[in-house]
């Protein structure tokens, strides 16, 4: 059962032709699919308008870049060239709309490129509120979401009413619950729930209908419960910084095989951006905006107004996950991850958390060096702990 779910997810992950999306479109004549870039968009709105939401990540190490390099200089991260490659090779032709959230200037500027390259596709850059006053922030974001919903409704031919949007919110609340359960299980029993498998499930969640994901994730959790494994003498680490361009699967496996249990991470962060359920009372758009503003998540793509909180964030994450150290894994040339790293690392080290840092690219093909680095780190954490006892 476990392997059946993992294979289902792996197939989706490896399929750069988005066959699952095409199947869904065939099975739902007249319906449309809408893409979104990392890190977070409220998929509830896409869902309620009748779209299949499709997360657009790059092609990782499975895609040869032929056209994408003509759009991006070598000193820009790998993700946008990979996404352009997918688009220019026709693999994203099925998308009627694409949303570009305010993650960084690269994604922001890619929204403009998309407007020029694909004038028939609805494109919207979604700004997010960055102000400290929750009411100002919510008012702004609510207006932003209403705007997007109105536009998307026109594209799909269906502007949802409140009841429909609440239904979508309820489904995504369930998705969030199940993702929280996956993370909690891994935190408690990382030997039973390897990060490689968790990651594949999260990636599946980006391309299949949300209810299908929920069913599969529950099956997986049930399988994990009935398939207990033996704990190993691994070190527990947080992997921070990989919230946008995703590391190749091989890199995640390398960290685990080097003797680390990943007990918290930023992979496919959009699934966990809202830390609490969205309210099912009042006005649904307001509820979505409010949930964003109230999230407990601390992430590099948002401004941190509280300097104490900034210093504490890695400590809090490590404590919550029972981690002994932090691996900062950032995509090369990634502004949000790399500008934040010195501050986060300082906070972690001040809290006595050993750290290492490396950079990757989604198409990195050689993992030996990461494995060695992570292996040495895992060993040093054990020694550190032995010394502390």
């Amino acid at each position: 059962m476990r392997s059946a779910v993992v294979e289902w997810a792996r197939e989706l992950y490896e399929d750069l032709d988005f066959s699952a999306v095409h199947r869904w479109l065939n099975d739902n004549p007249g319906s449309k699919a809408a893409g979104y870039l990392p890190v977070y968009v409220p998929r509830e709105i896409l869902h309620a308008c009748g779209f299949l939401p499709v997360g657009i990540h790059g092609g990782g190490d499975r895609l040869e870049i032929i056209r994408g390099d003509a759009f991006y200089q070598s000193y820009i991260c790998h993700l946008p060239r990979s996404i352009i490659e997918l688009a220019q090779s026709g693999r994203l032709d099925m998308l009627s709309a694409v949303l570009f959230p305010s993650t960084c200037d690269v994604i922001r500027n890619l929204s403009g490129i998309w407007k020029l390259l694909y004038p028939d596709v609805y494109v919207r850059y979604i700004d997010v509120p960055q102000v400290s006053d929750p009411e100002t922030a919510t008012t702004f974001y609510e207006a932003e979401l209403r705007h997007v919903m109105r536009d998307l409704g026109e594209v799909s031919g269906h502007v949802p009413d409140d009841a429909e949007l609440f239904q979508s919110i309820a489904v995504y609340n369930e998705m969030r619950t199940v993702v929280r359960e996956l993370y909690a299980t891994r935190r408690e029993r990382p030997w039973d729930l390897p990060t490689e498998e968790l990651y594949l499930l999260l990636r599946a969640c980006e391309v299949v209908p949300v209810d299908e994901f929920i069913v599969q994730a529950r099956r997986y959790l049930a399988a994990v419960d009935s398939d207990r494994r033996r704990p190993r003498d691994n070190s527990r680490v947080v992997v921070a910084g990989a919230f946008c361009e995703q590391p190749p699967l091989g890199l995640i496996k390398s960290i685990e095989r080097a003797g680390c249990y990943v007990v918290d991470d930023d992979f496919v962060l959009g699934t966990r951006f809202l830390t609490a359920d969205v309210s099912l009372a009042g006005d649904p758009v307001h509820a979505l905006a409010d949930a964003f503003v109230q999230t407990e998540l601390r992430t590099s793509v948002l401004y941190e107004g509280d300097s104490l909180r900034k210093r504490r964030v890695m400590k809090e994450r490590a404590e919550a996950a029972g981690a002994e150290g932090v691996i900062f894994a950032a995509p090369s040339f990634c502004d949000p991850a790399l500008l934040d790293q010195p501050m986060l690392r300082k906070g972690a080290e001040a809290a006595g958390l050993p750290c290492i840092a490396f950079k990757y690219s989604e198409n990195t093909g050689q993992f030996q060096q990461f494995r060695e680095q992570a292996g040495t780190f895992a060993d040093s954490l054990k020694l550190w702990n032995a010394g502390a006892e």
Binding site: D105, G112, Y125, F140, Y303, L339, M343
Partner: protein, 441 residues
């Protein structure tokens, strides 16, 4: 000739004096209990800051000056030793390195600590983290002013309201707290009125680039011209005086059919008229400029000189709508415009300034400008039929300025323009058109 030199000298001397006075005043600010507010060039709220009697400090200006004074390499190394990545914006590292090395500003005086970090988040993600980093260094209050990006190519009414509300409810109270003074709207209006006067004169100067020969260099020379208005002097009498003097000086050069003053003298014989996109390389500013002037190339317009405001498309600060006008200003800064708007702006410059070509200086460590510039190159070429050149360097990181490479690329570019000219038989040469009021008004 004597009069022209006097006029030229006047604006330069004025600027030098203004800046020196400003930095002296900054150095004395703690002793004189003058509050200090750090903020960024794009979306700077100088009129508002000044209306509270506070002095602005602009970290990008300090960084670029460090670049010109060949200090940035050491500052960057210092920041990288402290854990900052080699991949991120070199301005930030230069600034952090400067702070860590004693915070001696560009004019050799010590910079005061900020009483407030006014983070005007306009068109560049890096700003957000830059001030988070500075807040760590200084342990001082910070206020965030979020300027929504013009993703759909226009300022949306809700976005304008959002900005005005932030100004009223967050920024002004933070300034009141930091300075101990109450908001004085009349003072703000007065400052805005002065800004508009200076802006009129600046636009006249910028648009003189339409003349042949152009009396200004719209990039290398104009980065000096925009200095006061992009930094501490918008909304001040000194600023008004400077731009009046500058306009007179430029008009006099135009009337005499002269080109701009460049590293080797006056560039009157202008063979190529160019538009430039992207920031310059401050560490090699003079060498870089000479690569153009050696080929008799003058820059007639540029986008970088619009990061602190796009006045040449009509915007003026409006004293009758003090907070609304600040919102409009911030939203319209060049880096806050989407890619299609940037392409349209460059294409317009090429057409209206009758340029022979355009050069994109792509900055390695600046995603805000650089991500998408290859698309800009192709689109502008397609829309205007004018060929573009693409060069790569960095703002203040001397490691990424490859003199020979850039020179070769520019030389072949000019040859290409030349052969196109001959092929098309237009044989365009620089003509001395008389100064027309329409062109520079």
């Amino acid at each position: 000739m004597a009069q022209k030199e006097i006029l030229k000298d006047r604006s330069m001397i004025l600027q030098k004096e203004m800046i020196a006075r400003h930095f002296e005043r900054l150095e004395q600010a703690p002793a004189n209990h003058e509050p200090v507010v750090y903020t960024f060039v794009p979306g700077n709220l100088t009129e508002l800051i000044r209306s509270f009697g506070a002095l602005p400090v602009l970290p990008e200006i300090n960084a670029l000056q460090s670049g010109m004074r060949k200090l940035s390499g050491d500052y960057i190394a210092e920041a990288e030793r402290a854990g900052h990545s080699e991949d991120v914006c070199a301005y930030v590292k230069c600034d952090i390195g400067m702070v860590k090395s004693g915070n001696i500003g560009p004019s050799g005086t010590k910079l005061p600590k900020p009483d407030l970090l006014l983070l005007s988040y306009t068109g560049c993600y890096t700003f957000m983290k830059w001030f988070e980093l500075l807040r760590e260094e200084y342990d001082c209050p910070a206020v965030f002013f979020h300027v929504p990006y013009q993703g759909d190519g226009k300022l949306e009414p809700e976005h304008r309201e959002y900005m005005i509300r932030q100004l009223r409810e967050q920024v002004i109270p933070a300034l009141e707290k930091a300075t101990g003074r109450a908001y004085d709207e009349e003072k703000l209006r007065e400052n805005l009125r002065l800004s508009a006067l200076a802006e009129d004169d600046l636009v006249a100067v910028l648009q003189s680039g339409k003349l042949k020969p152009s009396p200004i260099d719209g990039y290398f020379g104009t980065v000096y011209y925009v200095g006061p208005i992009f930094s501490a002097f918008r909304g001040t009498e000194e600023g008004v005086e400077y731009y009046r003097a500058l306009r007179e000086e430029v008009y006099a050069r135009a009337a005499a059919g002269l080109g701009p003053i460049v590293p080797d003298g006056s560039l009157d014989d202008q063979r190529y008229r160019l538009v430039v996109e992207g920031p310059p390389s401050w560490t090699h500013f003079r060498d870089f400029w000479k690569m153009f002037t050696d080929e008799k190339a003058v820059v007639v317009a540029s986008t970088y000189t619009k990061v602190g405001g796009t006045y040449d498309f009509g915007f003026r600060h409006n004293p009758d709508d003090p907070l609304g006008t600040l919102a409009d200003y911030c939203s319209g800064c060049y880096t806050n415009l989407n890619l299609p708007s940037r392409i349209e702006m460059i294409s317009r410059y090429i057409r209206e300034y009758e340029a022979d070509g355009f050069v994109i200086n792509s900055i390695k460590s600046c995603n805000s400008f650089s991500a998408g510039q290859l698309m800009i190159l192709r689109e502008v070429e397609k829309r205007t039929g004018v060929p573009g050149a693409f060069i790569e360097s960095d703002l203040v990181d001397p490691r990424y300025f490859s003199q020979a490479n850039i020179k070769n690329r520019l030389e072949s570019y000019f040859q290409m323009i030349e052969s196109r000219r001959q092929g098309s038989g237009t044989g365009a040469t620089v003509a001395s058109d008389p100064l027309t009021s329409a062109a520079v008004a």
